[in-house]
Point group: C2
DNA sequence: CCTATCTGCAACCAATCGGTTGCTCTCACT
DNA sequence: AGTGAGAGCAACCGATTGGTTGCAGATAGG
């Protein structure tokens, strides 16, 4: 189980989620391109992409002088499994409680 | 589809996740009780609980002079559905790409 | 070769955040 | 009635964050 912290932290920012969704739905793009599409400066986008990269949500691919970023939605499975784990704990508690009441 | 922002923001903090997990696995508890179990002051816990409450992750129940907080894991379904939505967008893109290549 | 474009680095700024301390208020209990 | 435990409010603090501007380094293309 990898470290959840960078992942949740990365997803907490709406701009970052927007960038990530843009990459999943619209395919790879460079930082400059994303900056042109979203109402933020290129450097801001670059920082967000660095954060997403550290969280494993994004992949870098240097092509000539450009850097193409593409989404790695597989990283989201860690989120899903955390939710599942918490949900299971909840269910366990519920059934224990039910058992106690009977 | 409710507002994702408070939800993701609430889950971004590790202490908050710890509080939430504690409530799902260990059942309802008051702020003071949680403060005794975790290495944080009561007021810090209270702030976290307020955040969790705004995100819909937690329920308040005033019992006498105490306030019992209990987990509402159902709120996590919004997270899951967001993940699903993004995943679907990704799959759609992939299949379109595949189709284009053929 | 020269220029325009894309990236990276650094400094800086205001706002937010997680956390603390200190005080007041309320309410259960003896 | 008095007291002690629990909750709420407010001010404050240092660190982090999201964002900006400005500048320097690389590289594709005329």
């Amino acid at each position: 189980m990898s470290d959840l912290q960078p992942l949740f932290a990365a997803l907490a920012d709406p701009t970052r989620r927007a960038v990530f969704e843009r990459l999943t739905a619209g395919g790879p793009a460079s930082a400059s391109r994303l900056a042109a599409e979203l109402p933020v400066s290129r450097q801001a986008i670059a920082k967000h992409l660095a954060t997403l990269d550290e969280a494993g949500l994004v992949e870098r691919a240097t092509v000539g002088r450009e850097v193409q970023y593409s989404a790695r939605p597989a990283a989201l499975s860690d989120v899903t499994s955390w939710v599942d784990r918490v949900g299971t704990a909840w269910d366990t508690r519920l059934s224990r409680l039910k058992q106690t009441l009977e």
